[in-house]
Symmetry: C2
Protein backbone atom coordinates (compact mmCIF):
# COMPACT_ATOMS: atom_id res chain seq x y z
CA UNK A 1 0.00 0.00 0.00
CA UNK A 2 1.09 3.54 -0.74
CA UNK A 3 -0.03 6.90 0.62
CA UNK A 4 1.05 10.51 0.61
CA UNK A 5 2.03 12.12 3.89
CA UNK A 6 2.08 15.92 4.15
CA UNK A 7 3.76 17.90 6.91
CA UNK A 8 2.63 21.54 6.95
CA UNK A 9 4.81 24.05 8.80
CA UNK A 10 4.86 27.80 9.15
CA UNK A 11 7.49 28.30 6.43
CA UNK A 12 7.23 25.25 4.18
CA UNK A 13 5.06 22.30 3.20
CA UNK A 14 6.77 18.96 2.86
CA UNK A 15 5.35 15.79 1.38
CA UNK A 16 6.37 12.24 0.57
CA UNK A 17 5.09 9.04 -0.95
CA UNK A 18 5.32 6.45 1.81
CA UNK A 19 4.65 2.72 1.74
CA UNK A 20 2.97 0.72 4.50
CA UNK A 21 6.29 -0.44 5.92
CA UNK A 22 7.07 3.22 6.68
CA UNK A 23 9.57 3.64 3.86
CA UNK A 24 9.80 7.05 2.18
CA UNK A 25 9.90 6.51 -1.60
CA UNK A 26 10.17 10.12 -2.76
CA UNK A 27 10.08 13.56 -1.10
CA UNK A 28 8.83 16.93 -2.33
CA UNK A 29 8.50 20.38 -0.75
CA UNK A 30 7.40 23.96 -1.31
CA UNK A 31 8.07 27.21 0.53
CA UNK A 32 4.93 28.91 1.83
CA UNK A 33 4.04 32.42 0.75
CA UNK A 34 2.49 33.81 3.90
CA UNK A 35 0.83 36.66 2.03
CA UNK A 36 -1.11 34.35 -0.29
CA UNK A 37 -4.47 32.80 0.62
CA UNK A 38 -4.57 29.29 2.03
CA UNK A 39 -6.53 28.14 -1.01
CA UNK A 40 -3.89 29.44 -3.44
CA UNK A 41 -1.05 27.85 -1.48
CA UNK A 42 -2.78 24.49 -1.21
CA UNK A 43 -3.55 24.53 -4.94
CA UNK A 44 0.08 25.36 -5.69
CA UNK A 45 1.18 22.45 -3.48
CA UNK A 46 -1.22 20.13 -5.31
CA UNK A 47 0.61 21.03 -8.54
CA UNK A 48 3.93 20.13 -6.90
CA UNK A 49 2.43 16.88 -5.64
CA UNK A 50 0.97 15.86 -9.02
CA UNK A 51 4.28 16.52 -10.76
CA UNK A 52 6.22 14.54 -8.12
CA UNK A 53 3.86 11.56 -8.35
CA UNK A 54 4.19 11.51 -12.13
CA UNK A 55 7.97 11.86 -11.93
CA UNK A 56 8.18 8.98 -9.48
CA UNK A 57 5.74 6.49 -11.03
CA UNK A 58 2.56 7.63 -12.72
CA UNK A 59 0.99 4.16 -12.36
CA UNK A 60 1.34 4.04 -8.54
CA UNK A 61 -1.90 3.23 -6.73
CA UNK A 62 -2.30 5.67 -3.83
CA UNK A 63 -4.76 4.90 -1.01
CA UNK A 64 -5.11 8.44 0.22
CA UNK A 65 -3.45 11.53 1.66
CA UNK A 66 -2.68 12.27 5.32
CA UNK A 67 -1.86 15.72 6.69
CA UNK A 68 -0.19 16.88 9.88
CA UNK A 69 -0.67 20.56 10.64
CA UNK A 70 -0.19 22.86 13.66
CA UNK A 71 -3.07 24.86 15.07
CA UNK A 72 -6.65 24.19 16.04
CA UNK A 73 -8.37 21.94 13.53
CA UNK A 74 -11.79 20.44 13.04
CA UNK A 75 -10.36 17.07 12.15
CA UNK A 76 -13.65 15.39 11.36
CA UNK A 77 -14.59 18.08 8.84
CA UNK A 78 -11.00 18.75 7.71
CA UNK A 79 -11.16 22.47 8.44
CA UNK A 80 -8.41 24.78 9.80
CA UNK A 81 -10.03 26.69 12.67
CA UNK A 82 -7.01 28.80 13.63
CA UNK A 83 -3.37 28.36 12.72
CA UNK A 84 -1.21 30.95 14.53
CA UNK A 85 1.66 30.69 12.01
CA UNK A 86 -0.56 30.67 8.91
CA UNK A 87 -3.32 33.16 9.76
CA UNK A 88 -4.47 33.39 6.11
CA UNK A 89 -5.45 29.71 6.32
CA UNK A 90 -8.05 30.23 9.07
CA UNK A 91 -11.38 28.75 7.97
CA UNK A 92 -9.84 26.79 5.09
CA UNK A 93 -11.64 23.54 4.13
CA UNK A 94 -8.28 21.97 3.46
CA UNK A 95 -9.29 18.28 3.27
CA UNK A 96 -12.14 18.91 0.83
CA UNK A 97 -9.91 21.10 -1.37
CA UNK A 98 -7.08 18.55 -1.63
CA UNK A 99 -9.46 15.61 -1.97
CA UNK A 100 -11.21 17.30 -4.92
CA UNK A 101 -7.95 18.16 -6.72
CA UNK A 102 -6.31 14.76 -6.12
CA UNK A 103 -9.33 12.42 -6.26
CA UNK A 104 -8.23 10.75 -3.03
CA UNK A 105 -9.56 10.56 0.54
CA UNK A 106 -7.80 13.01 2.88
CA UNK A 107 -7.22 12.66 6.65
CA UNK A 108 -5.89 15.42 8.91
CA UNK A 109 -4.61 15.61 12.47
CA UNK A 110 -2.37 18.00 14.35
CA UNK A 111 1.36 17.90 13.72
CA UNK A 112 2.37 16.60 17.15
CA UNK A 113 -0.12 13.72 17.03
CA UNK A 114 0.93 12.80 13.51
CA UNK A 115 4.64 12.80 14.35
CA UNK A 116 3.87 10.63 17.38
CA UNK A 117 2.03 8.16 15.17
CA UNK A 118 5.04 7.98 12.83
CA UNK A 119 7.48 7.29 15.67
CA UNK A 120 5.07 4.80 17.26
CA UNK A 121 4.66 2.77 14.09
CA UNK A 122 8.08 2.96 12.46
CA UNK A 123 10.47 4.86 14.77
CA UNK A 124 11.71 4.75 18.35
CA UNK A 125 8.33 3.61 19.63
CA UNK A 126 7.75 0.66 17.35
CA UNK A 127 8.42 -1.98 20.02
CA UNK A 128 5.97 -0.42 22.50
CA UNK A 129 2.18 -0.29 22.83
CA UNK A 130 2.04 2.66 25.25
CA UNK A 131 4.14 5.75 24.72
CA UNK A 132 4.30 9.47 25.23
CA UNK A 133 6.12 11.68 22.72
CA UNK A 134 7.26 15.19 23.60
CA UNK A 135 8.45 17.49 20.83
CA UNK A 136 10.80 20.14 22.22
CA UNK A 137 10.72 22.90 19.61
CA UNK A 138 9.37 26.44 19.41
CA UNK A 139 6.70 25.09 21.73
CA UNK A 140 6.28 21.72 23.37
CA UNK A 141 3.98 19.41 21.46
CA UNK A 142 2.84 16.04 22.63
CA UNK A 143 1.30 12.81 21.54
CA UNK A 144 -0.16 9.86 23.42
CA UNK A 145 -0.34 6.25 22.26
CA UNK A 146 -2.45 3.95 24.44
CA UNK A 147 -2.80 0.28 23.54
CA UNK A 148 -1.28 1.07 20.12
CA UNK A 149 -3.91 3.73 19.41
CA UNK A 150 -3.46 7.50 19.15
CA UNK A 151 -5.33 9.13 22.03
CA UNK A 152 -6.18 12.79 21.54
CA UNK A 153 -9.21 13.38 23.75
CA UNK A 154 -12.72 14.62 23.16
CA UNK A 155 -13.10 16.11 19.64
CA UNK A 156 -9.31 15.57 19.19
CA UNK A 157 -8.65 18.48 21.56
CA UNK A 158 -6.53 16.75 24.19
CA UNK A 159 -2.87 15.72 24.29
CA UNK A 160 -1.82 19.33 24.78
CA UNK A 161 1.12 18.02 26.76
CA UNK A 162 3.02 21.32 26.64
CA UNK A 163 0.21 23.03 28.50
CA UNK A 164 0.45 21.33 31.86
CA UNK A 165 1.34 23.94 34.48
CA UNK A 166 4.39 22.79 36.44
CA UNK A 167 4.86 26.07 38.27
CA UNK A 168 1.66 27.86 39.28
CA UNK A 169 2.12 31.62 38.65
CA UNK A 170 5.39 30.93 36.84
CA UNK A 171 6.66 32.09 33.43
CA UNK A 172 4.07 33.40 30.96
CA UNK A 173 2.99 30.91 28.30
CA UNK A 174 1.67 31.65 24.82
CA UNK A 175 -1.56 29.83 25.70
CA UNK A 176 -2.53 32.50 28.22
CA UNK A 177 -1.74 30.56 31.40
CA UNK A 178 1.38 30.86 33.52
CA UNK A 179 3.98 28.23 34.33
CA UNK A 180 3.23 25.71 31.55
CA UNK A 181 5.72 22.94 30.80
CA UNK A 182 6.20 24.63 27.40
CA UNK A 183 7.35 27.84 29.12
CA UNK A 184 10.29 25.88 30.64
CA UNK A 185 11.05 22.95 28.33
CA UNK A 186 10.71 24.42 24.81
CA UNK A 187 13.70 25.57 22.77
CA UNK A 188 12.21 29.06 23.07
CA UNK A 189 12.37 28.84 26.87
CA UNK A 190 15.93 27.56 26.73
CA UNK A 191 16.97 30.45 24.48
CA UNK A 192 15.22 32.95 26.81
CA UNK A 193 17.16 31.58 29.79
CA UNK A 194 20.40 31.50 27.80
CA UNK A 195 20.04 35.19 26.92
CA UNK A 196 19.25 36.11 30.54
CA UNK A 197 22.34 34.29 31.80
CA UNK A 198 24.53 35.82 29.04
CA UNK A 199 23.39 39.29 30.14
CA UNK A 200 24.35 38.46 33.70
CA UNK A 201 27.70 36.87 32.78
CA UNK A 202 29.69 38.89 30.21
CA UNK A 203 32.64 36.49 30.61
CA UNK A 204 30.64 33.37 29.80
CA UNK A 205 31.81 31.23 26.89
CA UNK A 206 28.24 31.43 25.61
CA UNK A 207 29.16 34.83 24.09
CA UNK A 208 31.98 33.25 22.05
CA UNK A 209 29.87 30.27 20.98
CA UNK A 210 27.00 32.45 19.85
CA UNK A 211 29.44 34.54 17.79
CA UNK A 212 30.79 31.33 16.18
CA UNK A 213 27.24 30.17 15.41
CA UNK A 214 26.18 33.62 14.22
CA UNK A 215 23.14 33.65 16.49
CA UNK A 216 21.79 32.72 19.91
CA UNK A 217 19.97 29.44 19.54
CA UNK A 218 19.50 26.33 21.67
CA UNK A 219 22.89 24.99 20.55
CA UNK A 220 24.77 27.81 22.35
CA UNK A 221 24.16 26.53 25.84
CA UNK A 222 24.86 22.90 24.91
CA UNK A 223 28.17 23.75 23.25
CA UNK A 224 29.35 26.12 25.99
CA UNK A 225 28.35 23.66 28.67
CA UNK A 226 30.28 20.88 26.89
CA UNK A 227 33.32 23.18 27.03
CA UNK A 228 32.82 23.50 30.81
CA UNK A 229 31.36 27.04 31.02
CA UNK A 230 29.85 27.46 34.48
CA UNK A 231 27.10 29.87 33.43
CA UNK A 232 26.01 27.51 30.63
CA UNK A 233 26.05 24.58 33.06
CA UNK A 234 23.68 26.54 35.34
CA UNK A 235 21.26 27.14 32.45
CA UNK A 236 21.44 23.46 31.44
CA UNK A 237 20.85 22.32 35.02
CA UNK A 238 17.71 24.43 35.32
CA UNK A 239 16.48 23.23 31.92
CA UNK A 240 17.08 19.57 32.82
CA UNK A 241 15.35 20.10 36.18
CA UNK A 242 12.13 21.41 34.60
CA UNK A 243 12.15 19.03 31.64
CA UNK A 244 12.62 16.09 33.99
CA UNK A 245 9.87 17.20 36.37
CA UNK A 246 7.46 17.33 33.42
CA UNK A 247 8.57 13.88 32.24
CA UNK A 248 8.13 12.52 35.78
CA UNK A 249 4.60 13.90 35.81
CA UNK A 250 3.78 12.06 32.60
CA UNK A 251 5.32 8.88 34.02
CA UNK A 252 3.04 9.09 37.06
CA UNK A 253 -0.04 9.95 34.99
CA UNK A 254 0.39 7.43 32.17
CA UNK A 255 3.17 5.07 33.25
CA UNK A 256 3.99 4.54 29.56
CA UNK A 257 6.59 2.03 28.45
CA UNK A 258 8.65 4.74 26.82
CA UNK A 259 8.90 8.53 26.58
CA UNK A 260 10.21 9.62 23.17
CA UNK A 261 11.75 13.09 22.83
CA UNK A 262 11.90 14.82 19.47
CA UNK A 263 12.62 18.27 18.07
CA UNK A 264 15.80 20.31 17.78
CA UNK A 265 16.74 20.16 21.46
CA UNK A 266 16.30 16.35 21.59
CA UNK A 267 18.78 16.05 18.74
CA UNK A 268 21.50 16.81 21.29
CA UNK A 269 21.02 13.12 22.08
CA UNK A 270 22.73 11.39 25.00
CA UNK A 271 24.44 14.57 26.22
CA UNK A 272 20.96 15.82 27.18
CA UNK A 273 19.31 12.46 27.84
CA UNK A 274 21.97 11.26 30.26
CA UNK A 275 21.45 14.36 32.40
CA UNK A 276 17.68 13.84 32.32
CA UNK A 277 18.07 10.13 33.16
CA UNK A 278 20.32 11.06 36.09
CA UNK A 279 17.70 13.50 37.41
CA UNK A 280 14.87 10.98 36.97
CA UNK A 281 16.82 8.27 38.78
CA UNK A 282 17.45 10.55 41.77
CA UNK A 283 13.96 12.01 41.96
CA UNK A 284 11.50 9.19 42.46
CA UNK A 285 11.31 7.92 38.91
CA UNK A 286 7.88 6.45 39.49
CA UNK A 287 6.43 4.84 42.59
CA UNK A 288 8.08 1.96 44.40
CA UNK A 289 7.66 -1.23 42.42
CA UNK A 290 6.82 0.67 39.22
CA UNK A 291 8.18 -0.61 35.94
CA UNK A 292 10.93 1.56 34.48
CA UNK A 293 9.96 4.03 31.78
CA UNK A 294 12.49 4.10 28.93
CA UNK A 295 13.68 7.45 27.57
CA UNK A 296 14.58 7.68 23.88
CA UNK A 297 15.21 10.18 21.11
CA UNK A 298 12.90 10.04 18.08
CA UNK A 299 14.60 8.17 15.25
CA UNK A 300 12.76 9.28 12.10
CA UNK A 301 14.01 12.87 12.29
CA UNK A 302 12.28 15.24 9.93
CA UNK A 303 10.42 12.36 8.25
CA UNK A 304 8.32 11.50 11.33
CA UNK A 305 5.60 13.98 10.34
CA UNK A 306 5.37 12.77 6.74
CA UNK A 307 5.46 9.08 7.68
CA UNK A 308 2.95 9.63 10.50
CA UNK A 309 0.63 11.52 8.15
CA UNK A 310 0.73 8.58 5.73
CA UNK A 311 -0.17 6.31 8.70
CA UNK A 312 -3.45 8.25 9.05
CA UNK A 313 -4.34 6.78 5.66
CA UNK A 314 -3.18 3.20 6.37
CA UNK A 315 -5.24 3.11 9.59
CA UNK B 1 -25.70 -11.20 37.90
CA UNK B 2 -24.44 -10.67 41.44
CA UNK B 3 -20.97 -10.03 42.84
CA UNK B 4 -19.35 -8.95 46.07
CA UNK B 5 -17.48 -5.63 46.16
CA UNK B 6 -14.95 -5.04 48.94
CA UNK B 7 -13.51 -1.65 49.88
CA UNK B 8 -10.46 -1.97 52.12
CA UNK B 9 -9.41 1.09 54.11
CA UNK B 10 -6.85 1.77 56.83
CA UNK B 11 -9.40 1.44 59.66
CA UNK B 12 -12.19 -0.76 58.30
CA UNK B 13 -13.14 -3.20 55.56
CA UNK B 14 -16.52 -2.69 53.94
CA UNK B 15 -18.30 -5.06 51.61
CA UNK B 16 -21.58 -5.38 49.73
CA UNK B 17 -23.50 -7.70 47.49
CA UNK B 18 -24.08 -5.71 44.29
CA UNK B 19 -26.10 -6.60 41.22
CA UNK B 20 -25.12 -5.78 37.64
CA UNK B 21 -27.32 -2.69 37.52
CA UNK B 22 -25.13 -1.23 40.29
CA UNK B 23 -27.66 -1.72 43.07
CA UNK B 24 -26.35 -2.51 46.57
CA UNK B 25 -28.42 -5.38 48.00
CA UNK B 26 -26.80 -5.70 51.41
CA UNK B 27 -23.81 -4.16 53.21
CA UNK B 28 -21.40 -5.55 55.80
CA UNK B 29 -18.26 -4.21 57.51
CA UNK B 30 -15.53 -4.96 59.99
CA UNK B 31 -13.05 -2.80 61.90
CA UNK B 32 -9.42 -3.64 61.18
CA UNK B 33 -7.09 -4.67 63.97
CA UNK B 34 -3.82 -3.12 62.85
CA UNK B 35 -1.79 -5.35 65.18
CA UNK B 36 -3.08 -8.57 63.65
CA UNK B 37 -1.57 -10.19 60.57
CA UNK B 38 -3.13 -9.53 57.15
CA UNK B 39 -3.97 -13.22 56.86
CA UNK B 40 -5.87 -13.24 60.19
CA UNK B 41 -7.79 -10.09 59.30
CA UNK B 42 -8.75 -11.35 55.86
CA UNK B 43 -9.88 -14.67 57.30
CA UNK B 44 -11.97 -12.83 59.89
CA UNK B 45 -13.54 -10.74 57.12
CA UNK B 46 -14.35 -13.90 55.16
CA UNK B 47 -16.34 -15.11 58.21
CA UNK B 48 -18.28 -11.81 58.21
CA UNK B 49 -18.85 -12.15 54.47
CA UNK B 50 -20.08 -15.75 54.67
CA UNK B 51 -22.50 -14.89 57.48
CA UNK B 52 -23.82 -11.85 55.56
CA UNK B 53 -24.37 -13.84 52.36
CA UNK B 54 -26.26 -16.52 54.28
CA UNK B 55 -28.32 -13.92 56.14
CA UNK B 56 -29.22 -12.22 52.86
CA UNK B 57 -29.97 -15.22 50.63
CA UNK B 58 -27.96 -18.42 50.88
CA UNK B 59 -29.05 -19.52 47.40
CA UNK B 60 -27.70 -16.39 45.63
CA UNK B 61 -25.37 -17.18 42.71
CA UNK B 62 -22.27 -14.97 43.01
CA UNK B 63 -20.00 -14.49 39.99
CA UNK B 64 -16.95 -13.42 41.97
CA UNK B 65 -15.40 -10.92 44.35
CA UNK B 66 -13.81 -7.56 43.51
CA UNK B 67 -11.48 -5.64 45.85
CA UNK B 68 -10.39 -2.01 45.95
CA UNK B 69 -7.40 -1.37 48.17
CA UNK B 70 -4.89 1.47 48.69
CA UNK B 71 -1.18 0.90 48.26
CA UNK B 72 1.07 -0.73 45.72
CA UNK B 73 -0.40 -3.97 44.44
CA UNK B 74 0.57 -6.68 42.03
CA UNK B 75 -2.88 -6.80 40.51
CA UNK B 76 -2.23 -9.69 38.18
CA UNK B 77 -1.03 -11.93 41.00
CA UNK B 78 -3.35 -10.42 43.61
CA UNK B 79 -0.55 -9.56 46.03
CA UNK B 80 -0.19 -6.55 48.35
CA UNK B 81 3.32 -5.20 47.71
CA UNK B 82 3.19 -2.31 50.20
CA UNK B 83 0.21 -0.70 51.90
CA UNK B 84 1.34 2.30 53.99
CA UNK B 85 -1.74 2.21 56.24
CA UNK B 86 -1.71 -1.57 56.73
CA UNK B 87 1.98 -2.45 57.00
CA UNK B 88 1.25 -5.93 58.38
CA UNK B 89 -0.42 -6.78 55.06
CA UNK B 90 2.77 -6.32 52.99
CA UNK B 91 3.41 -9.43 50.92
CA UNK B 92 -0.08 -10.83 51.49
CA UNK B 93 -1.46 -13.05 48.68
CA UNK B 94 -4.88 -11.56 49.28
CA UNK B 95 -6.69 -12.73 46.12
CA UNK B 96 -5.59 -16.37 46.50
CA UNK B 97 -6.55 -16.38 50.19
CA UNK B 98 -10.05 -15.02 49.62
CA UNK B 99 -10.60 -17.13 46.51
CA UNK B 100 -9.73 -20.32 48.41
CA UNK B 101 -12.00 -19.48 51.36
CA UNK B 102 -14.93 -18.34 49.22
CA UNK B 103 -14.61 -20.63 46.20
CA UNK B 104 -14.97 -17.63 43.84
CA UNK B 105 -12.67 -15.78 41.41
CA UNK B 106 -11.16 -12.62 42.96
CA UNK B 107 -10.10 -9.41 41.16
CA UNK B 108 -8.16 -6.56 42.78
CA UNK B 109 -7.29 -2.99 41.78
CA UNK B 110 -6.32 0.12 43.70
CA UNK B 111 -9.02 2.00 45.58
CA UNK B 112 -8.98 5.13 43.41
CA UNK B 113 -9.31 3.14 40.17
CA UNK B 114 -12.11 1.04 41.59
CA UNK B 115 -14.08 4.06 42.85
CA UNK B 116 -13.64 5.65 39.40
CA UNK B 117 -15.05 2.53 37.76
CA UNK B 118 -18.08 2.65 40.08
CA UNK B 119 -18.80 6.30 39.28
CA UNK B 120 -18.19 5.70 35.56
CA UNK B 121 -20.64 2.80 35.33
CA UNK B 122 -23.38 3.79 37.77
CA UNK B 123 -22.66 7.27 39.16
CA UNK B 124 -21.92 10.79 37.92
CA UNK B 125 -19.95 9.47 34.96
CA UNK B 126 -22.50 7.05 33.54
CA UNK B 127 -23.42 9.23 30.55
CA UNK B 128 -19.78 9.71 29.49
CA UNK B 129 -17.17 7.54 27.76
CA UNK B 130 -14.13 9.60 28.79
CA UNK B 131 -13.71 10.88 32.30
CA UNK B 132 -11.20 11.77 34.97
CA UNK B 133 -12.05 11.26 38.63
CA UNK B 134 -10.13 13.04 41.39
CA UNK B 135 -10.62 11.95 44.99
CA UNK B 136 -9.77 14.78 47.38
CA UNK B 137 -9.12 13.06 50.69
CA UNK B 138 -6.09 12.40 52.88
CA UNK B 139 -4.25 12.30 49.57
CA UNK B 140 -5.41 12.94 46.01
CA UNK B 141 -6.32 9.76 44.18
CA UNK B 142 -7.22 9.56 40.56
CA UNK B 143 -8.81 7.40 37.95
CA UNK B 144 -8.94 7.58 34.16
CA UNK B 145 -11.67 6.20 31.89
CA UNK B 146 -10.84 6.26 28.18
CA UNK B 147 -13.36 4.95 25.65
CA UNK B 148 -15.32 3.40 28.55
CA UNK B 149 -12.27 1.47 29.77
CA UNK B 150 -10.27 1.96 32.95
CA UNK B 151 -6.76 3.12 32.01
CA UNK B 152 -4.09 2.58 34.64
CA UNK B 153 -0.83 2.40 32.73
CA UNK B 154 1.91 -0.18 32.39
CA UNK B 155 1.53 -2.94 35.04
CA UNK B 156 -1.40 -0.89 36.47
CA UNK B 157 1.10 1.62 37.85
CA UNK B 158 -0.18 4.82 36.22
CA UNK B 159 -3.10 7.13 37.00
CA UNK B 160 -1.22 8.54 39.99
CA UNK B 161 -3.05 11.81 39.33
CA UNK B 162 -2.19 13.28 42.73
CA UNK B 163 1.50 13.06 41.91
CA UNK B 164 1.73 15.60 39.10
CA UNK B 165 4.01 18.44 40.23
CA UNK B 166 2.22 21.78 39.77
CA UNK B 167 4.84 23.81 41.61
CA UNK B 168 8.43 22.72 41.07
CA UNK B 169 10.28 22.92 44.42
CA UNK B 170 6.97 23.58 46.21
CA UNK B 171 5.43 21.92 49.27
CA UNK B 172 6.80 18.52 50.31
CA UNK B 173 4.71 15.54 49.21
CA UNK B 174 4.48 12.13 50.87
CA UNK B 175 5.74 10.54 47.65
CA UNK B 176 9.17 12.12 48.04
CA UNK B 177 8.83 14.83 45.39
CA UNK B 178 8.00 18.48 45.97
CA UNK B 179 5.03 20.46 44.73
CA UNK B 180 2.66 17.61 43.81
CA UNK B 181 -1.03 18.34 43.16
CA UNK B 182 -1.74 16.26 46.28
CA UNK B 183 0.36 18.64 48.41
CA UNK B 184 -2.07 21.46 47.48
CA UNK B 185 -5.44 19.88 46.71
CA UNK B 186 -5.85 17.15 49.35
CA UNK B 187 -7.89 17.64 52.50
CA UNK B 188 -4.59 17.28 54.36
CA UNK B 189 -3.15 20.25 52.45
CA UNK B 190 -6.28 22.30 53.10
CA UNK B 191 -6.06 21.56 56.84
CA UNK B 192 -2.33 22.45 56.85
CA UNK B 193 -3.11 25.82 55.23
CA UNK B 194 -6.09 26.39 57.56
CA UNK B 195 -3.87 25.88 60.62
CA UNK B 196 -1.20 28.22 59.24
CA UNK B 197 -3.74 30.97 58.62
CA UNK B 198 -5.34 30.43 62.05
CA UNK B 199 -1.93 30.88 63.69
CA UNK B 200 -1.48 34.12 61.78
CA UNK B 201 -5.01 35.42 62.49
CA UNK B 202 -6.10 34.94 66.12
CA UNK B 203 -9.31 36.90 65.42
CA UNK B 204 -10.43 34.68 62.56
CA UNK B 205 -13.82 32.99 62.83
CA UNK B 206 -12.01 29.75 62.00
CA UNK B 207 -11.09 29.53 65.72
CA UNK B 208 -14.76 29.63 66.74
CA UNK B 209 -15.81 27.15 64.05
CA UNK B 210 -13.10 24.67 65.00
CA UNK B 211 -14.23 24.89 68.65
CA UNK B 212 -17.82 24.20 67.55
CA UNK B 213 -16.67 21.22 65.48
CA UNK B 214 -14.35 20.00 68.22
CA UNK B 215 -11.40 19.78 65.81
CA UNK B 216 -9.64 21.41 62.88
CA UNK B 217 -10.77 19.60 59.76
CA UNK B 218 -11.51 20.62 56.18
CA UNK B 219 -15.01 21.79 57.17
CA UNK B 220 -13.59 24.66 59.29
CA UNK B 221 -12.48 26.79 56.36
CA UNK B 222 -15.67 26.16 54.37
CA UNK B 223 -17.94 27.10 57.25
CA UNK B 224 -15.93 30.19 58.27
CA UNK B 225 -15.71 31.32 54.68
CA UNK B 226 -19.49 30.91 54.25
CA UNK B 227 -19.85 33.21 57.26
CA UNK B 228 -17.67 35.81 55.52
CA UNK B 229 -14.41 35.40 57.46
CA UNK B 230 -11.64 37.10 55.47
CA UNK B 231 -8.83 34.78 56.58
CA UNK B 232 -10.91 31.71 55.65
CA UNK B 233 -11.74 33.27 52.27
CA UNK B 234 -7.99 33.70 51.64
CA UNK B 235 -7.36 30.01 52.41
CA UNK B 236 -10.28 28.99 50.16
CA UNK B 237 -9.05 31.19 47.32
CA UNK B 238 -5.60 29.63 47.41
CA UNK B 239 -7.10 26.13 47.57
CA UNK B 240 -9.43 26.82 44.64
CA UNK B 241 -6.52 28.30 42.67
CA UNK B 242 -4.33 25.19 43.00
CA UNK B 243 -7.18 22.70 42.63
CA UNK B 244 -8.34 24.46 39.47
CA UNK B 245 -4.84 24.62 37.96
CA UNK B 246 -4.56 20.86 38.41
CA UNK B 247 -7.98 20.30 36.85
CA UNK B 248 -7.02 22.56 33.92
CA UNK B 249 -3.89 20.46 33.41
CA UNK B 250 -5.97 17.31 33.18
CA UNK B 251 -8.35 19.04 30.76
CA UNK B 252 -5.45 19.91 28.46
CA UNK B 253 -3.87 16.46 28.74
CA UNK B 254 -6.99 14.31 28.36
CA UNK B 255 -9.78 16.66 27.29
CA UNK B 256 -12.26 14.34 29.01
CA UNK B 257 -15.99 14.88 28.76
CA UNK B 258 -16.28 15.26 32.51
CA UNK B 259 -14.11 15.64 35.61
CA UNK B 260 -15.74 14.01 38.66
CA UNK B 261 -14.63 15.12 42.14
CA UNK B 262 -15.10 12.85 45.13
CA UNK B 263 -13.95 12.60 48.73
CA UNK B 264 -14.75 14.63 51.81
CA UNK B 265 -13.81 18.03 50.33
CA UNK B 266 -15.93 17.43 47.21
CA UNK B 267 -18.95 16.81 49.44
CA UNK B 268 -19.04 20.59 49.97
CA UNK B 269 -20.77 20.50 46.59
CA UNK B 270 -21.66 23.61 44.64
CA UNK B 271 -20.15 25.99 47.21
CA UNK B 272 -16.75 24.62 46.18
CA UNK B 273 -17.59 23.69 42.59
CA UNK B 274 -18.95 27.12 41.69
CA UNK B 275 -15.69 28.74 42.78
CA UNK B 276 -13.69 26.20 40.76
CA UNK B 277 -15.96 26.69 37.72
CA UNK B 278 -15.47 30.46 38.02
CA UNK B 279 -11.67 30.06 38.08
CA UNK B 280 -11.70 27.63 35.14
CA UNK B 281 -13.88 29.96 33.09
CA UNK B 282 -11.49 32.87 33.66
CA UNK B 283 -8.27 30.92 33.14
CA UNK B 284 -8.32 29.41 29.68
CA UNK B 285 -10.57 26.45 30.34
CA UNK B 286 -9.11 24.57 27.45
CA UNK B 287 -7.87 25.82 24.11
CA UNK B 288 -9.97 27.94 21.79
CA UNK B 289 -12.60 25.83 20.10
CA UNK B 290 -12.28 23.08 22.69
CA UNK B 291 -15.39 21.30 23.90
CA UNK B 292 -16.36 22.20 27.46
CA UNK B 293 -15.36 19.78 30.19
CA UNK B 294 -18.16 19.25 32.71
CA UNK B 295 -17.36 19.35 36.43
CA UNK B 296 -19.42 17.14 38.76
CA UNK B 297 -19.42 15.72 42.25
CA UNK B 298 -19.41 11.92 42.57
CA UNK B 299 -22.91 10.65 43.26
CA UNK B 300 -22.42 7.19 44.79
CA UNK B 301 -20.83 8.51 48.00
CA UNK B 302 -19.26 5.85 50.18
CA UNK B 303 -20.66 3.08 47.96
CA UNK B 304 -18.54 3.99 44.90
CA UNK B 305 -15.67 1.74 46.07
CA UNK B 306 -17.90 -1.27 46.77
CA UNK B 307 -19.90 -0.87 43.55
CA UNK B 308 -16.73 -0.29 41.52
CA UNK B 309 -15.10 -3.36 43.05
CA UNK B 310 -18.11 -5.45 42.00
CA UNK B 311 -17.70 -4.01 38.47
CA UNK B 312 -14.24 -5.63 38.33
CA UNK B 313 -16.13 -8.94 38.42
CA UNK B 314 -18.83 -8.04 35.90
CA UNK B 315 -16.18 -6.92 33.39
Amino acid sequence: MFAIGIDIGGTSIKGAIVNDTGKVLTRFAMDVNKNASGEDEVNRFCDVMIKSINDYDNSIKLEGIGIGMPGILDMDKGVVITSPNLPKWNGLHISKLISKRMGLPVYINNDANVATLGEARFGSGKEYSNLIMLTLGTGVGGGIIIDNKLYDGNKHMGAELGHMVIRVNGEKCGCGRRGCFEAYASATALIRDTKKEMDKCPDSLMHDVSKELGKINAKVVFEASRRGDKAAIRVMKRYVNYLSEGILNYCNIFRPEVVVLSGGVANEGDYLLDQVRHYLKNHKYGMKGSPKVELKVASLGYDSGKIGAACLVFE
